[in-house]
């Protein structure tokens, strides 16, 4: 088995809000190996981005709190690190690509200033060295004639180009772990594919690991090795991409797959998942999915199902599997 880069163990993130407590991530556990791409899928508000931010320790506290769990990055717990140690880790070892490339780049600096800032603080390069490295990075992420674009401001780039700049910034200090938080969501479809290709290509070329957060199963199918499906703060299914797509075990995953339009014309109508996401301030008891689940049983209303191994490396959290019926 390959070396584990990141391991989440029972990670729980809670927010203390005026209206009450909200558990955004509840007992998330998964691990990512070197060179692997892990896709975290779920709809809006399921806790994907909070998970990513917890890994980067970007959860503002207060109101955020991590009451239990560990985030092991290369063997040491990120949650125990001091702020200074964390700063040294961010950018240099773990980097992040954000969803909205316009707002995630500072509008008052040129691209070169922005990327070289990280290079100079993290790697201590001189101004000239940093500039050379920025040119290198920009051409690496496929920005044509980078020398000419160096002193451009963010608003002078198109959406796809901005996301390339984001990626260049994330890659600038040679991190070995990249978190991409819905990097293609804000882009139009053709550019999505290009950027996706670029990211996966980079990961392969630079031997990095990737945590890919998305709500788009198509993107997962394209880019990821392993997949975790999140629903209302819980990871409900975890497994290899092929396994998940071929033999989904959790009713939610099944629902997600059924609601994707298919090109081969199997079904005339899409089957949506009935209902909408539960209110996280007042979640249902037991399995969070039971109000929308067509297989819901009594036990689902009482007990929160645990992740159980159904096939080697394939886990699902559903009471249906307690009786051996899928």
């Amino acid at each position: 088995m390959a070396e584990t880069v990141l391991e989440l163990d029972d990670l729980t993130v809670r927010f203390h809000l005026r209206r009450g407590d909200l558990t955004a991530v509840d007992g998330a556990s998964f691990s990512i190996e070197r060179g692997q791409t892990f896709g975290l899928v779920g709809e809006s508000g399921s806790g994907k981005s909070v998970t990513a931010k917890a890994i980067m320790r970007l959860i503002p506290a207060p109101p955020g709190e991590i009451p239990r769990g560990r985030v092991l990055f290369e063997g040491s717990n990120i949650l125990d690190k001091s702020d200074a140690e964390m700063r040294a880790l961010r950018g240099r070892r773990i980097a992040m690509v954000f969803q909205e490339p316009m707002s995630a780049l500072n509008p008052v600096f040129t691209v070169c200033d922005q990327i070289s800032d990280a290079l100079r603080t993290n790697l201590g390069l001189s101004k000239k060295e940093a500039r050379e490295r920025v040119v290198e990075l920009l051409s690496l992420v496929g920005i044509p004639s980078p020398q000419k674009r160096l002193d451009s401001y963010v608003h002078e780039f198109s959406g796809g180009m901005r996301q390339r700049v984001m990626l260049a910034m994330a890659l600038s200090c040679n991190p070995n772990f990249l978190i991409a938080d819905e990097p293609t969501t804000a882009l139009d479809v053709t550019i999505q594919a290009t950027i996706l290709e670029l990211i996966t290509g980079m990961i392969e070329r630079l031997g990095m690991s990737l945590l890919f957060i998305t709500h788009n199963l198509g993107v997962v199918a394209h880019a990821c090795d392993r997949v975790g499906v999140m629903y209302a703060s819980h990871i409900v299914e975890l497994g290899d991409k092929r396994e998940i797509f071929a033999r989904p075990q959790h009713p939610y995953t099944v629902g997600l797959l059924n609601s994707i339009p298919r090109l081969d014309g199997q079904a005339k109508y899409l089957t949506p998942i009935a209902g909408s996401v539960c209110n996280m301030m007042d979640p249902p008891t037991g399995c969070k999915f039971h109000p929308r689940c067509s297989h819901a049983m009594d036990v689902c209303r009482r007990e929160i199902p645990r992740l159980k191994e159904i096939a080697p490396g394939h886990l699902a959290a559903c009471h249906l599997h307690d009786r051996g019926t899928a």
Binding site: A88, P107, T121, G142, E156, M161
Partner: protein
């Protein structure tokens, strides 16, 4: 194949975007842009022209005046404007034109220094308070509230009286004035910058710079500050006019600089006794105060229109 096409398309787009040259060209362009932007607002352009004239006169004062602003000449008292004395002479026979220019020079310098002082203390104070938030912010802002509750004019009177009491004179007296004016401006700056930081720190680029390993101080002062500078510039410009008015008012009340020094406020006060016989002597310092305050206010207001993104149409 669609990926490759998309790539090509993106490439084409990028190539068509204007190619931008070196830093010098960029600066020249920025300056040109600034003028272009300024032209959008008539108020701002009028203010700008008035200010350029004002600053020009202040800088060139020693070269465009021929008389001594302080030396008295009783043979030429209270003269009306003539070729010899452009704006006439005052009760001591001093050339009014000369005195106005020297007085303006000092006044503008005091105002600039005071506002700079207020900005340089208030901005870091407000930015850090807003950025760190929580208890730090609460305590820091209650202190500012306390300062704001204290009436400005009373504070200046207090400081000026104390300075007089302790026999602080000459340049030191001006420094005290600068300090007092700047200090009174500080709470306003702190509050304004805190408010804008509160909005700005929610933006994703702040989180992004945290994610590349920037420290809090660097994020607050190097990433956020440049983004919130425009309301501060507007505020400072308008404040310059206000500070000039205050300084003139103080010396009008006899609390500014002592008499021989040329000063619009005290010259105006001294001219009151001749209002019936030679009203022009009072008119000129008054007009000068008007002109200057108007220039700053027009420029500031126009600048607000230009810099306010909600009004930007393109």
């Amino acid at each position: 194949m669609t990926e490759i096409q998309a790539d090509k398309l993106a490439e084409l787009q990028a190539v068509r975007a204007p190619a931008i040259g070196g830093r010098l060209a960029r600066w020249r362009m920025a300056l040109g842009n600034a003028w272009h932007e300024l032209r959008k607002s008539r108020t701002a352009s009028i203010g700008a022209v008035m200010l350029v004239l004002l600053f020009g006169a202040c800088i060139a004062t020693p070269w465009i005046t021929t008389y001594d602003p302080i030396k008295q000449n009783y043979r030429e008292r209270l003269q009306p404007p003539s070729e010899k004395h452009l704006l006439g002479t005052d009760r001591m026979g001093r050339d009014i034109y000369t005195r106005l220019l020297y007085g303006g020079r000092r006044l503008v310098a005091i105002a600039l220094l005071a506002v700079t002082f207020g900005l340089s203390v208030g901005i870091p104070y407000g930015v850090l308070s807003g950025y760190f938030g929580g208890k730090v912010d609460t305590v820091a802002m209650r202190f500012i509230d306390g300062l704001l509750a204290f009436p400005g004019l009373l504070f200046y009177l207090l400081v000026v009286t104390l300075a007089r009491e302790w026999k602080i004179e000459g340049i030191a007296n001006d420094a005290v004035l600068v300090f007092a004016l700047g200090f009174a401006f500080m709470p306003e700056v702190a509050r304004l910058s805190r408010g804008t930081v509160l909005a700005e720190k929610q933006k994703e680029y702040v989180e992004a710079s945290r994610a590349v390993g920037d420290g809090s101080l660097s994020i607050a002062l190097r990433q956020i500050l440049p983004n919130i500078i425009s309301p501060l510039i507007v505020n400072a410009t308008v404040r310059l006019g206000y500070v000039i008015l205050i300084v003139a008012a103080l010396s009008f009340l006899g609390l500014g600089t002592p008499p021989p020094t040329p000063d619009w406020g005290s010259d105006l006060a001294a001219a009151r006794d001749y209002m019936e016989t030679a009203p022009l002597i009072a008119a000129f310092p008054g007009l000068a105060i008007c002109y200057t305050v108007l220039a700053f206010n027009l420029f500031g207001d126009g600048l607000r229109d230009i810099l306010d993104p909600r009004l930007a149409e393109r």
